[in-house]
Each structure stands twice: as structure tokens, then as C-alpha cells.
């Protein structure tokens, strides 16, 4: 089955492109210092607001810092914090969803009411409130997203688990003497994993946009951090004289988000036909940014 998923995935050009871009960005993020042509934080006022040249491929900003290097280093703050947020909400949401769906009863009720509470907060508003109280920083922002976004994961996984646990092969596994833990690991998780992967991929894209937009309005990463949102904000003042300063980070954000969405969609399509699991992701509204 893995083979057929891979084959299907690679038949779709946008998905492959998304995968390549996503992997490339992760690679760039890991080796940011080595890849960047200049020090992203080296201020040189004499070189400020230069147009693209061989020395500075994308030009320099108002403090004479290399824009390309800042974009490359920004991969680390933007993309990596999105990946961290997604991994943590996976680690919280998936186990809670499995427990709620599998155990049911009061446990299910408690977990789902917690999820309801988390879902009722509008994410932007709560983020504003939190950074308003604790001060603007990327860390506070990440905590807000984790606090809110484990809920849709838990809910999706719970729905899948509830569906799967009624399947006769789970009963057959009980009849064969499997323990609860073994049934979850061997029978339930493998059947939900495709939805989880798809949802996580799409979620990464959403988190990138959110972090960038909060950094843009000055509530996320703080200058002089190399962050795509911060760079957008820097460029704002020069929109008439040096519009490229605004274009570069915008393009990077758009490309990365598109890449992760294409990757998620591709994975979804590739994994769907064997069962209707993929449809669940679509029902939950995927992640529209």
C-alpha cells in the first residue's frame, strides 16, 4: 500500500513540487549559516537600501543587511517554529483524541469539553491578549497557538478512532487476545495516520502565515530577529522607494505556504482512495489561509 501511495503521490506534479520546496526549505533552515552569503545581522549603513547585485543578490535593507541572508536565516524562525508548533499540537492532540475516542464516556466528555473551550477562543484575539499581557515575543505566540490548536487535531483523531473501533477487525483483535494498548498501536493508529499526516502538513502552512502576520504587526518575533514577518514590517516604510524589500519576504511566505498546501493536498489525494479517511480532513475545513 505504501508503494501505491508513493506512486500516486509522484504522479501529481504540484505535490512533488511542494515536497521539493518543503524539503529544500528545511535543508536551508538547518544549514542557514552555511548557505547564507553574508551575516544576516551585520549592519553596514554605508551599504543600505542597495538594489540587487552580485554581492547582494536580493539587495540590502535599510541597515545595509543582506536581504537574502536574512530570508535564509528567517527560515529558521518562521518555518521551524511552525514545525515545532505542529509537532507539539500533534503530541498533545493525537493521544487525547485517541483516549477520548477509544475510552468514551466521561473521559471523552472531559477531553472534548476542554477542546470546545480551546476552540471557542478566536486565535488572533487570544494571541493579542496574551502578548498584551506577557509582552510580545515569538515564544508567547507559539504557546498561544499550541494552547488553541491541539483541539481540532484531537477532534479529528477522536472521530476517526470512534469510527475505526467499531470495525470488526478491532473486535477480531480483541477476540485474539490483544490488549488495549496493542489494539491502539497496531490497529487504530495505522488507520488514522494518513489523516494525521495530511492535517499536520496543512497546519504547518497555517502556522507560518499566523506567525508571519503577528511578527508583521510587531507582536511576534522582535527586530532585529531575521523573521519573514519582521522583514515585511521593515519593508513597509520603503514601499514606495524600495518595493522589492517588501516583495522578497512576501514571495517566500507565499511559496512556502503554497508548497506545504500542495504537499498536504497531494498526500491527501494519494492516501484517500484506499478508504474515505482523507474526506474527513476535507470536512474539517482543511486549513485555509
Amino acid at each position: 500500500m505504501l508503494k501505491s501511495i508513493i506512486r500516486k503521490f509522484f504522479q501529481k506534479r504540484s505535490a512533488v513540487l511542494g515536497l521539493i520546496v518543503a524539503l529544500l526549505m528545511v535543508f536551508i533552515g538547518i544549514f542557514a549559516e552555511q548557505v547564507a552569503p553574508h551575516d544576516a545581522y551585520a549592519v553596514d549603513i554605508s551599504q543600505k537600501l542597495l538594489d540587487p547585485s552580485a554581492e547582494y543578490p536580493l539587495g540590502t535593507d535599510q541597515l545595509g543587511r543582506c536581504i537574502l541572508s536574512r530570508l535564509i536565516l528567517g527560515t529558521r524562525t518562521s518555518l521551524f517554529s511552525a514545525i515545532i508548533v505542529t509537532v507539539i499540537i500533534l503530541l498533545i492532540g493525537v493521544p487525547l483524541g485517541i483516549i477520548a475516542g477509544y475510552v468514551g464516556g466521561i473521559t471523552d466528555n472531559i477531553i472534548m469539553r476542554m477542546a470546545d473551550v480551546a476552540s471557542t477562543f478566536p486565535s488572533s484575539l487570544l494571541a493579542l491578549a496574551i502578548v498584551g499581557i506577557f509582552g510580545p515575543s515569538l515564544r508567547n505566540l507559539i504557546l498561544v497557538f499550541i494552547f488553541l490548536w491541539w483541539a481540532p487535531f484531537a477532534r479529528m483523531v477522536r472521530g476517526q478512532v470512534m469510527k475505526i473501533k467499531e470495525m470488526e477487525y478491532v473486535l477480531a483483535a480483541v477476540a485474539a487476545g490483544d490488549s488495549r494498548f496493542r489494539i491502539i498501536v497496531r490497529h487504530i493508529l495505522p488507520n488514522t495516520i494518513s489523516s494525521i499526516i495530511v492535517y499536520a502538513t496543512l497546519r504547518i502552512a497555517a502556522v507560518i502565515v499566523h506567525i508571519a502576520s503577528f511578527s508583521f504587526i510587531g507582536l511576534g518575533s522582535q527586530p532585529p530577529t531575521a523573521d519573514w514577518g519582521v522583514m515585511l514590517n521593515d519593508g513597509r516604510q520603503f514601499i514606495t522607494s524600495h518595493p522589492l524589500m517588501l516583495v522578497w519576504p512576501g514571495v517566500v511566505i507565499a511559496v512556502v505556504v503554497l508548497a506545504f498546501n500542495a504537499l498536504g493536498e497531494g498526500l491527501n489525494d494519494a492516501m484517500t482512495p484506499t478508504s474515505e479517511e482523507g474526506a474527513v480532513v476535507k470536512e474539517t475545513g482543511a486549513v485555509n489561509v
Partner: protein, 265 residues
């Protein structure tokens, strides 16, 4: 019937389903004896309680259902009184089960060979997949799957319903359980394949296994079973060896079930 001590004895088993406004008495005081080296058939129409009874034996009844009364004695020990952990040890190891819905009873993301391997592995922790493959191929051939290699490497959703059913039977055949509960093992198969599978069940009982065959098909019973119980509305209405009952059915319902066969003969 057999006078020996039964391997498995169900005594006055009652399984009720508590619905919103009423109680459905799916199994209402059933007693059966299952003997080593014999096939015990449970016959009944749709909704007669035969599947619920077989699920109750392994304590697999979920809410809103509940086993309200009765005993399930395995070698004289009431398995309803065992802890979850002890019960797990009996499931699959001492009492194995072939399920009715073949396509649903196999995990779609687990290959057939792995399913079969796990059926063996439950008893024999030292079993290695590679050593077992030859046996698996032979077993699959015996239940009428002519391309065992392809089937072993397949995922259940790549097989037809009938093929899955035969895989399930094959899993039942490779387990070394003392009691095998086969819930309608031939319901979606053609007559030739059905005959092959029944032959395998007979072979299995000759190795000393006790087989519970749940079916609505009296033809199947006549071919294979030793003892039979006729169940209707959760109550056993007739019991005896197959020979006795076929020669001299006492209950009206048994006669009713037999009518088509009698006319045919």
C-alpha cells in the same frame, strides 16, 4: 450425545441488550456442550441469537449489551469470572474465532501474511515469519486460494469478500486453539469452495480441536457436524447428535428449517 467431559460448556447464558425503551433478550438461557474432536453446530435463522451467543463466549459483548447471567466453563473454569488479563490469555490462544464479516474483520493496513503470522504468534512466541510461509501457502491452497503468494503479500482491501473469508478460515486453521468458533465461515462462498472449507474443518476436528460451527444452513450441518443445537429467539429448541435430530426432529421449528431439504430429497 457425547458422554465425555466437555472442553467448553455454556450454562444458562443470558445476554440482554438494554435499549432505550426495552430490553432485547438476544440470548435467553442457552446451554451447550462442546467436545474435543467434534464439530458442534449452532443453527438458527437470522436474528436468532447465534452470533451474540458466540460473542458472549469470549465476553465480547459491548454496551448496550450485557451478559446478565450464566457460566462459560472452559475445562470447568468459569471464564466470566476471570480478570481482563486472564481473559486475554484465553482469547485467541485457547478459544479462537472466525468472524462473520470477512471484509471488515481484517485490518486493511495489515498484510495477509502478517495477519496469519499473528494468529500463530499468539501461541508460539518463537515462531518466525520465514519458517511459517510454506505452511501458510499450503493452508491458503487448501482453502481454495490458488495464488497463495500473491494473497500473502496483499492487503485485505485488495481481495474480494470471498477471498477474505477464506483468509479468515485459513487464520483459523493455523491457530492451535483448543476451541475454534466459526461464525458463518462459508456464507459468501460458492458450493465448491464451501465444500473444501468444510472438509478442512473436519480435518481440524480430527486433530482434536473442538469446533463450534455457527450457521443457518442445515446442508452444511448435515455434511460436517457431529452435534447440533437449534436456536430460536435466544432459546435452544432442539439438541442432539446430527444423526438423531435429522432422523427424528422433535421441534416444529427444526422441522420447518428442514423442510426444504426434505422436499429436495
Amino acid at each position: 450425545m457425547c458422554n465425555e467431559e466437555p472442553v467448553l460448556a455454556v450454562k444458562d447464558l443470558k445476554t440482554y441488550f438494554y435499549c432505550k425503551d426495552r430490553v432485547v433478550k438476544a440470548v435467553n438461557g442457552v446451554s451447550i456442550d462442546v467436545h474435543k474432536g467434534r464439530i458442534t453446530a449452532i443453527i438458527g435463522g437470522s436474528g436468532s441469537g447465534k452470533s451474540v451467543m458466540s460473542l458472549s463466549i469470549l465476553n465480547l459483548i459491548d454496551k448496550p449489551g450485557r451478559i446478565v447471567d450464566g457460566q462459560v466453563l472452559l475445562h470447568g473454569r468459569d471464564i466470566r469470572k476471570l480478570s481482563d488479563k486472564e481473559l486475554r490469555r484465553i482469547r485467541g490462544r485457547q478459544i479462537a474465532m472466525i468472524f462473520q464479516e470477512p471484509t471488515c474483520a481484517l485490518n486493511p493496513v495489515v498484510k495477509v501474511k502478517k495477519h496469519m503470522y499473528e494468529a500463530v504468534h499468539i501461541h508460539d512466541k518463537s515462531a518466525r515469519m520465514n519458517d511459517l510461509m510454506d505452511g501458510f501457502r499450503k493452508t491458503l491452497l487448501r482453502v481454495g486460494l490458488s495464488e497463495p503468494d500473491r494473497v500473502l503479500e496483499s492487503y485485505p482491501f485488495e481481495l474480494s469478500g470471498g477471498m477474505c473469508q477464506r483468509v479468515m478460515v485459513a487464520m483459523g486453521l493455523v491457530t492451535n486453539a483448543e476451541v475454534l468458533i466459526a461464525d458463518e465461515p462459508t456464507s459468501s462462498l460458492d458450493l465448491t469452495t464451501q465444500a473444501a472449507i468444510l472438509e478442512e474443518l473436519v480435518r481440524l476436528k480430527e486433530t482434536g480441536m473442538a469446533v463450534i460451527l455457527i450457521t443457518h444452513d442445515l446442508g452444511v450441518v448435515a455434511q460436517t457436524a457431529d452435534d447440533m443445537y437449534v436456536i430460536k429467539d435466544g432459546i435452544i429448541v432442539e439438541r442432539g447428535t446430527v444423526r438423531e435430530v435429522f432422523a427424528n426432529p422433535k421441534n416444529e421449528y427444526t422441522k420447518f428449517l428442514m423442510e426444504p431439504i426434505l422436499i429436495h430429497n
